[in-house]
């Protein structure tokens, strides 16, 4: 078993964006300005992160024009919700494999250093033994 954290979500800013949009009911969208206010991000940073999520199909952005003002809204897609759900499950698996001190539990899982991956000890041991 290998539990991997989706690298697209496993980044503080994008995790906050996805978590915030996931708190809305399915199909609802949030304006760019409200999202920016809630997360305390600069417009440039938010645009970059939204573009990455949009390219992956995790969110959908819509631009509407009302007179001279343009309004951008972002909504989490079904793919984005599924990705967050998988990410949350992976976190549960990871943290379930750690004891209270953050060390690997006796159950037999280890986090490979800095890799955000959970691998069975048996798999790691086998790999270490092989030439």
């Amino acid at each position: 078993m290998t539990t991997e954290l989706d690298p697209l979500i496993h980044m503080p800013t994008r995790l906050k964006i996805v978590a915030t949009l996931a708190a809305l009911p399915d199909g609802d969208a949030l304006s760019f300005t409200r999202l920016q206010d809630m997360l305390g991000l600069t417009p440039g940073n938010l645009i970059i992160q939204l573009r990455k999520l949009d390219e992956a199909g995790y969110i959908s952005t819509t631009k509407t024009r009302n007179g001279s003002a343009q309004k951008t809204t972002a909504a989490l897609t079904a793919k984005g919700r599924a990705a967050l759900s998988a990410y949350t499950q992976a976190l549960r698996d990871l943290l379930g494999g750690l004891d209270g001190d953050g060390r690997p539990a006796e159950a037999g899982y280890e986090i490979s250093a800095g890799d955000a991956k959970l691998k069975p000890r048996a798999e790691i041991a086998t790999r270490q033994e092989s030439p």
Binding site: P12, T88, L98, A113, G114
Partner: protein, 221 residues
Amino acid sequence: MDHIPGTAGTTQGGGFDPRQAAALLDQATQQARRAFTPLTPLLFTFRAVVALVVFGGFWLSVRGQHPYTGHISGWAIAVAVVLVAINIGWTAWVIGRAGTGVSGPAQRKWQAWTGIMVAAWIIGYAITAPLYHAGVSHPVWGLYPASAPLLIIGLAGAAVAAAFRYWPLAGTCLAIAAAAAAAGFGGPAGSWLSTGIGLCAVYLGAAPFTAWRQRRSMVRP
């Protein structure tokens, strides 16, 4: 797994620990839930106090009437008007704040539910005018305003919330209707107190339930 540009720092070198990620996920989710929830725990708690003070005040002003006339003293009405006005203002403010920048089908349903509730409030209490005009007996005059409007409002709110699948809201509205129906058995004067206690209990139950829904962890069971 594909490595997306911009994520290297998180997947190589351990810049973003899974425990930090879990904490951040919970923090961001809870913050968003609080921001998008129109009916906050604090508002429910305030409504519990309002219900007890307003209906309790009405009960205090009519409980000594023999025979029962249903006349409510001026101070009780003044207190009720002030507290209800604060409640309406606060409710409108939190609903507006929660819905700022939000669009979509669920938001439109919520707006529809709010509109229906405003109509139910107006209709529920407007019916007292023809009752007064018809010169109904004092016990009826005492019983109707204390319980019937809330029964109408509670049932209307529960029906619409259930149609929209807002189950916690439907449960709260149904509990309000049940409290109002039960209060009808309290007699002309006692129904005021029963309604106040019933509403207070419903709101005091809704407040911690809403707080629990906002705070529950995404990661930990």
